[in-house]
C-alpha cells in the first residue's frame, strides 16, 4: 500500500470559523475537512458562496472532502449524478483525500440525510465492494470509507463489524477513515470491546482518524458531533496511537460550534498526544 501523506492535525471547517481560516492564524490546524455536499458547484459550474470561500482556504492549506451522499451500501445505485458533481468539485479543489461512509442513506431515489446501518452479511459486503470500486473508478482515486456510530444491529449479521470492515476495505482496495468516537459509541451501544474492535481493523489501510463529541443519553450514546471530545475517546486515541500510530487526526464539530479559540485548545491537546505517541514509538 502506498504510504499515507502526513498532513498533520486537521479540523472540520465550519462557516462560523471562515474569518479565521481566511485571514487569521489557525494553528495548530494544518488542513481542513469539509462536508462535500455544501460546496458542490451549481449547475453550469457556477461557484456558490461556500465554494468561493473554500477556494481561498485551499490556497492556504490542504482540503479533504468528506461526503455523506454516496450511499455506498444502498442496494440500488442511484449515486451517479452525485458522483459526477463530486468529481467536478474534486477538479476545482484538488483534495488531499475523499471519503464517505460504510452505510446507506436511502433507496428508490429517497435521501434520508442520515447514515443508516447495514447488516454484516455477504450481500452487504458485495454491494459495498462494487459501489466503492465504481466510485473510485469514476473519481479516479482511492477513497476512504468511515465506520459509523450505530444504534441498531441485525440478528442476521454473520460477522463482527470489524471483520466486516476488514473484508470490505481489502476487497474494494480502498482506505479507512477510522472514527474513534464512532467506535466508542457503537461499542457502548452494543456491548462490544473497543480494543477488540480496534485490533480487528486493517491498520495498514487507515489514512485518517476522526475524533468528535457524542451526547450521553444514559443507556445510549448518540453521535451528535455537538460536544467536545469526551475522555473515553481521548483515551482510545492515545491507545490506538501507542499501538498503531496516529495518521491525519482531526476533530469534527458539527453543531453548537464553539469559538475558534476553544476548538484550537482541543487541537492542541490532540497535537500533544500525537507528539507523545511519536516519541514513545521511536524510543
Amino acid at each position: 500500500m502506498p504510504e499515507a501523506a502526513d498532513l498533520g492535525v486537521g479540523v472540520g471547517l465550519r462557516h462560523d470559523h471562515y474569518p479565521e481560516f481566511l485571514q487569521g492564524d489557525v494553528a495548530p490546524a494544518r488542513w481542513v475537512e469539509v462536508n462535500a455536499e455544501k460546496y458542490l458547484p451549481e449547475r453550469g459550474g457556477t461557484r456558490g458562496a461556500h465554494l468561493q470561500v473554500l477556494e481561498h482556504v485551499r490556497a492556504r492549506m490542504p482540503v479533504v472532502l468528506h461526503s455523506t451522499s454516496m450511499s455506498l451500501g444502498s442496494a440500488r445505485d442511484e449515486s451517479q449524478g452525485y458522483l459526477a458533481r463530486l468529481k467536478e468539485l474534486c477538479a476545482i479543489i484538488e483534495p488531499a483525500m475523499v471519503s464517505d461512509h460504510l452505510c446507506w442513506t436511502g433507496i428508490d431515489d429517497v435521501h434520508l440525510y442520515d447514515l443508516l446501518p447495514l447488516p454484516f452479511v455477504r450481500e452487504s459486503v458485495d454491494v459495498l465492494v462494487e459501489r466503492i470500486s465504481r466510485a473510485q473508478d469514476l473519481l479516479g482515486r482511492r477513497i476512504l470509507v468511515e465506520n459509523l456510530s450505530t444504534y441498531v444491529t441485525f440478528a442476521s449479521s454473520e460477522m463482527s463489524e470489524w471483520e466486516f470492515i476488514s473484508e470490505v476495505v481489502r476487497r474494494a482496495d480502498c482506505y479507512l477513515l477510522l472514527d474513534l468516537n464512532n467506535v466508542h459509541v457503537s461499542c457502548f451501544n452494543h456491548g462490544w470491546d473497543a480494543h477488540a474492535y480496534l485490533h480487528g481493523i486493517p491498520h495498514d489501510r487507515v489514512r485518517q482518524i476522526h475524533l468528535a463529541g457524542y451526547t450521553d443519553r444514559g443507556r445510549l450514546k448518540i453521535d451528535t458531533h455537538g460536544e467536545s471530545v469526551h475522555e473515553p475517546v481521548w483515551e482510545l486515541f492515545r491507545w490506538y496511537g501507542d499501538h498503531h500510530g496516529t495518521i491525519n487526526p482531526m476533530i469534527e464539530r458539527d453543531s453548537d460550534v464553539p469559538p475558534w479559540s476553544e476548538l484550537a485548545d482541543e487541537l492542541r491537546r490532540m497535537s500533544a498526544i500525537v507528539s507523545d505517541v511519536a516519541e514513545r514509538r521511536c524510543a
Binding site: Q52, I107, D108, H111, F154, L220
Partner: protein, 248 residues
C-alpha cells in the same frame, strides 16, 4: 431477507410521519432503537424547511409548521443531496393540499419565501457598472455576455409581500386581482425590489442566462423600446448593482 427489501422497510419506518413504522421482520436486536433514526430524520426535515421558509414558519407558527412538515414530507420525501431542494415542491403542495389550499395566500407566501431564501443563499458577485463598461473598448464589450447576478430573481406573484407587514396578513387575505412582476435582489444583507411592467419583465428575461449588450439592444427594440428607453434601461441595469460579466 434481501438487502433491498430490508432497506425499503427500514426506510418506510423512518418516513412514517406518525412515529417509527413497523420493523417486524428486520430482526433488529433492539427494535425500539429505530426511533433514533426516525427522530433524526424528522428533526432535520423541520430544520431544513424552517431554514428555507422562515417567513412561512413565522406566519404559520411552530405547531402548524410541524404538521405541515409531516404532511408535506409524507407526500414528497426528500430526493436531493442539497438541503435547499427539500422545499422545492412545498408551494405547490400548499396550493393543493387541504386545509391550506383553502387559503391561496399561504402557497403564494411560500413561493416568495423560498425564492428569497435561494437569493440569500447565493454567492455575492462583483457587479459591473456603467463607468467600468464605458472605460473598455466598445469592440471588446460587444463580445461580452452579461447576466443578472446570482443574488437576484425575477418573480411573478399575486401577493405584494411586505415583510415588515407580515403580521397584518391573515390566511383570509385575498390574492391580488392581477399578477405583479418584480425583480428581487440583495445588496449586502438587504433585499431590494423593483416592480416591473410586463414589457420590462420581458426586457429582463434574457439577462437571466446572459446576453451581449448589442443583442440586448436588439431585444429591447423588438419589444418596442425607443432609443431613449433602451439607453435608460441599460443605464439602469448597469448602475443598479445587478449585472455581472460572464466568464466563458
Amino acid at each position: 431477507m434481501r438487502l433491498a427489501d430490508l432497506q425499503r422497510q427500514f426506510q418506510a419506518a423512518i418516513l412514517d410521519p406518525d412515529g417509527p413504522g413497523s420493523v417486524d421482520g428486520l430482526a433488529l436486536a433492539i427494535p425500539g432503537r429505530v426511533r433514533v433514526h426516525h427522530s433524526h430524520f424528522w428533526t432535520r426535515m423541520g430544520e431544513f424547511i424552517g431554514n428555507w421558509q422562515p417567513l412561512l414558519a413565522r406566519f404559520l407558527g411552530a405547531e402548524e409548521m410541524a404538521q405541515l412538515v409531516r404532511r408535506y414530507i409524507a407526500v414528497h420525501p426528500p430526493g436531493t443531496v442539497v438541503a435547499s431542494g427539500v422545499c422545492a415542491q412545498l408551494a405547490d403542495f400548499l396550493r393543493t393540499a387541504p386545509p391550506w389550499s383553502a387559503w391561496p395566500i399561504v402557497g403564494e407566501l411560500a413561493a416568495i419565501d423560498y425564492r428569497r431564501a435561494l437569493i440569500r443563499a447565493a454567492a455575492e458577485e462583483a457587479t459591473v457598472t456603467g463607468a467600468l463598461v464605458a472605460a473598455i473598448d466598445p469592440a471588446v464589450i460587444a463580445s461580452i455576455r452579461f447576466r443578472l447576478k446570482q443574488r437576484s430573481a425575477l418573480m411573478t406573484s399575486r401577493f405584494q409581500l411586505d415583510v415588515s407587514r407580515l403580521h397584518l396578513v391573515t390566511r383570509e387575505t385575498p390574492l391580488d386581482a392581477r399578477p405583479v412582476h418584480r425583480l428581487v435582489h440583495m445588496t449586502g444583507r438587504r433585499y431590494a425590489t423593483i416592480e416591473l411592467e410586463p414589457r420590462s419583465l420581458r426586457a429582463f428575461e434574457p439577462l437571466v442566462a446572459g446576453i451581449t449588450l448589442p443583442a440586448l439592444d436588439d431585444h429591447l427594440a423588438g419589444l418596442g423600446f425607443d432609443d431613449r428607453e433602451r439607453r435608460r434601461f441599460v443605464d439602469h441595469v448597469l448602475d443598479g448593482d445587478l449585472l455581472v460579466a460572464i466568464r466563458d
